[in-house]
């Protein structure tokens, strides 16, 4: 049975809406993937951390460009929220299908409006990227095809007021090789 987008967003909402003030750790001694830090040798950007998938070939690129729904790359969120709204379900589904067919690599960039601290917004942007990632994964995309990066509020419009700031509350989908 195909997992639905609704289930994924319900799960996300459940964890977000938990009003418990007690800590529920995932187990601090649980097995943990090996951390790989690049320190003094400072090698280049760790951006293409997506281990599966490849860049798009010219045929796939053409298909990507030709599609209307695939040209929609931004999913927008409400203030201080990372819940995916139902109006974006079809866009996400279309991208999920394309990613699988083309064996593509994607990077999801999470963003936030300027309200709130830079660091909290970096985290919120990350949550927004992860929310879209979880939605794609629930539609069958391989976890390892997706990298998530947050820009927080750093590229947001710093002078917007009211609903105009909604433009910055978003996750952008970007394909390697385009």
């Amino acid at each position: 049975m195909k997992k639905s987008l609704l289930l994924a967003s319900l799960l996300a909402a459940l964890f977000a809406g938990c009003s418990t003030t007690e800590v529920e750790p995932m187990g601090l001694n649980a097995p943990f993937p090996e951390l790989e830090s690049k320190t003094a040798d400072g090698a280049g950007a760790d951006l293409s951390g997506a281990e599966d998938g490849a860049g798009l070939d010219s045929e796939e690129l053409a298909k990507l460009k030709a599609s209307d729904v695939l040209s929609e790359r931004s999913i927008y969120f409400d203030f201080d929220s990372f819940a995916i709204k139902s109006e974006y379900e079809s866009v996400i589904a279309a991208h999920a299908q394309f990613i699988n067919e083309a064996n593509a690599k994607v990077v999801l960039y999470g963003n936030a409006s300027y309200e709130g601290s830079h660091e909290y917004n970096l985290s919120l942007g990350q949550k927004r990227a992860v929310a879209v990632k979880d939605a794609l994964v629930s539609l069958g995309v391989s976890d390892a095809s997706i990298e998530t990066v947050s820009f927080g509020e750093e590229y947001a419009n710093q002078e917007c007021t009211g609903s105009a700031c909604g433009q910055d509350r978003r996750t952008d989908i970007s394909y390697e090789g385009e």
Binding site: M26, P33, S117, V149
Partner: protein, 432 residues
């Protein structure tokens, strides 16, 4: 001598009724009435150094003392004559303008050796005696530093606490969409110099408590990574470039470790790492965002922001026992925690009705107080003596600027570092 502790530690806060938007009463014991009335007379100076200065020595001292919020600086314009030394003080002139203390001095320069000699005195007008008489020597280029030294000496003498007028701050300037720089300057914004320039954003600068290094987050690799830069050598190391985001560096009180935030395994979680990049350990792991760590001065607890309750609130964790407690309950969310040097006050940003304001919470009795109006105040940090707070605010909703507010809430003063947008700032330690 005044007992300064009484001055600001006792904050009374009237009961806040649940669901009411307004804070009912705040009474700060010893507010305006307890400011020390002091006059700073123009110094007797016939030097070239003085002629070139944008501000005279008495103005620098006045601005220092005004910014602290603890002094009532009196206008000396109506006084008939300015004494050059303590013997020339006409006490009735100064008691006529209600001064309790007077600072005066004389500068003599020796062009041959390129030095200046500043003889200055602090005089008690009520008791009609000289409290201090000192001589400072230096190069003309140290004109401002000498003025700040005088301010520090007076401050410590009259309040019992070390002054911070000699200290430095660092701040991030955004000059254009693709031009960012991290600057270091005097605490009042003078003598700024860039130590990092980048086409990409720089955020979360943090000065190490021992003063040697600044940690910061850079987007130059197209994702947030943490650098530590040595202020003397200018060399930097890449502290953290793990998969995902690397951000929110927070120095331990002994400058040996940092708490940092990684999104290695999905959402932001807090880790502790040695300052040379070795030995990383995860401190907190929950399903929620955990970010903005801040160490308690005793090195035993870390305060941080988590949205496990639905939106950002401040919690604390004991590093050894891992016991965790929620700390803030007021407002819709509370962000950007930091601790006063004595560990008694929590400083943070509190949001209510989409307005972000600088707030304080007394950790012993949990009384809560907002110090600014907002609506978009950010990144508050204590001065190293805990008497002032540095923060970022939006100027008429447009450009971001930095400024200070005194701990008693009486004085808010911008720090003028130019017209560009200032993102975040950090304060260097006391070094004398």
């Amino acid at each position: 001598m005044r007992d300064f502790l009484k001055f600001f530690i006792i904050l009374f806060f009237g009961m806040q009724i649940q669901h009411a938007a307004a804070i009912e009463t705040i009474e700060i014991l010893g507010g305006k009435a307890n400011q020390i009335p002091i006059a700073v007379t123009p110094f007797d100076e016939q030097t070239l150094a003085a002629q070139k200065q944008p501000q005279k020595i008495n103005q620098i001292i006045e601005n220092d003392l005004i910014r602290s919020g603890l002094f009532d600086i009196l206008n000396t314009g109506g006084v008939s004559s300015y004494p050059r030394n303590a013997d020339e003080v006409n006490y009735s002139n100064w008691s006529a303008i209600q001064a309790q203390f007077l600072i005066l001095g004389q500068i003599v320069s020796d062009t041959k050796s390129n030095t200046m000699e500043v003889k200055w005195s602090l005089v008690d007008i009520y008791k009609q005696n000289v409290v201090l008489s000192l001589v400072l020597k230096g190069r003309p280029s140290q004109y401002r530093a000498i003025a700040h030294k005088i301010s520090d000496t007076v401050y410590e003498k009259l309040t019992g606490t070390k002054g911070v007028f000699h200290t430095k701050i660092a701040f991030v300037k955004k000059k254009a969409k693709d031009s960012y720089a991290l600057y270091v300057s005097d605490y009042d914004g003078f003598n700024q110099r860039a130590i990092v320039k980048s086409k990409k954003p720089i955020i979360s600068p943090r000065w190490s408590p021992n003063g040697e290094k600044i940690a910061y987050v850079s987007f130059e690799k197209e994702k947030p990574v943490i650098y530590i830069q040595n202020l003397v050598s200018g060399q930097r190391i890449l502290l953290a470039n793990f998969k995902g985001n690397n951000s929110a560096p927070a120095w331990s009180p002994d400058s040996k470790k940092l708490a940092i935030v990684l999104t290695y395994s999905a959402n932001s979680q807090i880790y502790i790492i040695n300052e040379d990049g070795t030995d990383i350990k995860q401190l907190i792991r929950t399903y929620a965002i955990n970010t903005e760590p801040a160490w308690a001065p005793n090195g035993e607890e870390i305060f941080y922001v988590s949205d496990r309750g639905g939106s950002g609130q401040i919690y604390k964790i004991n590093i050894k026992t891992l016991e965790t407690k929620r700390v803030t309950y007021e407002g819709n969310n509370n962000l950007s925690p930091s601790l006063s040097p004595d560990g008694k006050l929590l400083l943070f940003i509190s949001q209510k009705d989409r307005k972000y304001r600088v707030a304080l919470q007394n950790l012993l009795n949990n009384q809560y107080l907002t110090l600014t109006e907002g609506p978009h105040d950010e990144s508050p940090l204590f001065s190293p003596n805990g008497h002032m707070i540095l923060f970022t605010y939006k100027d008429y909703g447009k450009t971001s600027k930095i400024g200070t507010v005194s701990i008693n809430g009486l004085t808010k003063t911008p720090i003028n570092v130019g017209s560009e947008t200032i993102l975040e700032s950090t304060w260097g330690p006391i070094t004398n």
